[in-house]
């Protein structure tokens, strides 16, 4: 009886967007005379940070300060259609719709600025600080508030834009399974280090060290949040979680947190990661979906690490102490 260490790896891909496409999302942008830009959506934030990353993408595409971009979501009377928050799709889909809407709004903004500054729109640039200025002559500029007032009261123009992103729905060939399921693919590789107590069957995950490739990080702290939360969820799936501990039997179904086994802060392994960025062709600023994938690679990496430690491959999740002890017993006999 001993405590034995083991290391395991796993490498995975994860698709962005609803399988087979057919999941459009729209965005509307309009500027008020206050120089603020409202992005109207019907998209939902589950905690991943949609309201923040969409404002970042909108600000970037409009060329205006982040603080001047306000998100109005989610209301079916005021927000245009969004398919929903799932399938690692919202930053990609809604982000693309926002970029398209921003381009239309920006075009009007630059035309009005050109009239005000008496130059061609091609000679103008945004400074990201709230000014539109003549290239090469930074002192000749107009602030977005003045610009928004001029557009409304002087030129009778709306600074607004519409955007939609759609990957058309495709069919599966029923004979061969030929299909176009995804928009792009993110990737991850996790190295797990575990310690198995052969007396109690308990597994302690010492570390999860991973590399992720996510196209482009709109907000690195929020990506990090997905990585940390996803890693612990993956570990939970690998070792603890089940609503039916003796599946396919349905007995012992938990009805609350005191019965449903989850790792807490006590069980936290060391989590370390690097993030690579290889921009996708079709994501806004090259993004790929990251939310779901982070839970996937830790699971097989942990199971492989357990095998490395004790020479028993348990292929039935979760790998509970009971399963480990029973498997070890069989090997010994």
């Amino acid at each position: 009886m001993a405590i034995i260490k083991g290391t395991g790896i796993a490498a995975v891909n994860y698709p962005t967007g609803m399988n087979l496409g057919g999941d459009p999302s729209q965005a509307l942008i309009h500027a008020t005379t206050t120089g603020n830009f409202f992005i109207s959506l019907s998209s939902t934030d589950l905690g991943q940070g949609l309201k923040t990353v969409i404002a970042q993408i909108g600000a970037e595409a409009l060329g205006v300060p982040f603080e001047n971009v306000l998100i109005n979501t989610a209301d079916t009377d005021t927000g245009p259609h969004c398919m929903g928050t799932f399938a690692s799709r919202t930053t990609h889909r809604v982000g693309n719709a926002v970029v398209q809407a921003a381009q239309e709004a920006r075009k009007v903004m630059m035309e009005v600025a050109a009239d005000e500054l008496e130059v061609s729109p091609d000679d103008l640039e945004t400074d990201g600080q709230g000014n539109i200025r003549v290239k090469g002559s930074p002192d000749r500029s107009i602030h977005i508030i003045d610009l928004a007032l001029a557009a409304h009261f002087k030129y009778g123009k709306t600074i607004s834009g519409r955007g939609i992103y759609m990957k058309p729905k495709s069919d599966v060939d029923p004979e061969t399974g030929k299909m176009d399921p995804d928009s792009t693919e993110a990737h991850a590789c996790t190295v797990a280090e575990v310690e198995v107590d052969t007396e109690t069957g308990e597994v302690k995950v010492l570390s999860l060290k991973s590399a992720y490739e996510v196209g482009r990080q709109v907000n690195p702290a929020l990506v990090e949040g997905q990585i940390r939360g996803g890693s612990l969820m993956g570990m939970a799936h690998a070792l603890y979680e089940t609503t039916q501990p003796y599946y396919p039997a349905v007995d012992h179904m938990p009805g609350g947190f005191s019965e449903y086994v989850l790792p807490g802060p006590m069980e936290l392994p060391e989590i370390e990661s690097v993030v690579l960025e290889y921009p996708s062709v079709n994501g806004p600023y090259g993004v790929k979906g990251v939310g779901e994938m982070t839970a996937n690679s830790p699971i097989p990496a942990i199971v492989n690490a357990i095998y490395d430690a004790i020479g028993v491959r348990i292929t039935d999740l979760p790998v509970t102490p009971e399963k480990i002890l029973r498997a070890l017993e069989e090997v010994e006999i």
Partner: protein, 160 residues
């Protein structure tokens, strides 16, 4: 059984409430007093989202009868939030991304407050120990642990 008048201190103010026997502090706060920062994630004492402080100790208000706080001091997140601004613990949770969906956050902040009031220099193990009754599905806990470490540094005057 007849309803009862219970008197206690809530967020520094003495109040008198009329409750049915076995009404929980959670129900009183949320449904009778409209103080909704105290969440109701399970009503089973399993998630900690309803944590309030009773005389400075963290308690799950979903299991706590109002009669039991007679004469005691109860503090909720509303009670530690300054106007204007944020408590240092709120500030570090915000700045360190120790929040995602936000549902567990009030309970997490209340247990952090109880810990730091009792122990201004907690070690990592002590922080983890303080968090074990509070559930979070989003963050993986590490950002919360780090936020509490940072709060301790700032409260001791050597944060950044």
């Amino acid at each position: 059984m007849a309803s009862k008048i219970v008197t206690f201190t809530l967020n520094g103010r003495r109040i008198e409430v009329l409750v049915k026997p076995l009404t929980t502090v959670q129900t009183l706060l949320r449904d009778q007093l409209g103080l909704t920062s105290t969440k109701a994630g399970c009503k089973q004492g399993g998630c900690g989202s309803c944590t309030v402080l009773v005389n400075g100790d963290p308690m799950m208000s979903c299991l706590l009868p109002v009669e039991d706080v007679q004469g005691q001091e109860v503090t909720t997140l509303e009670g530690i939030t300054p106007t204007p601004g944020l408590h240092i613990i709120q500030e570090v949770f915000y700045e360190n991304f120790a929040i995602q969906c936000g549902y567990c956050t009030p309970g997490m902040i209340m247990v952090s407050k109880a810990l730091l009031d009792r122990n201004p220099h907690p070690g990592r193990e002590e922080i983890i120990d303080a968090l074990t009754g509070n559930y979070c599905r989003c963050t993986g806990y590490e950002p919360i642990i780090q936020a509490i470490e940072e709060a301790a540094r700032r409260m001791n005057g050597n944060g950044n």
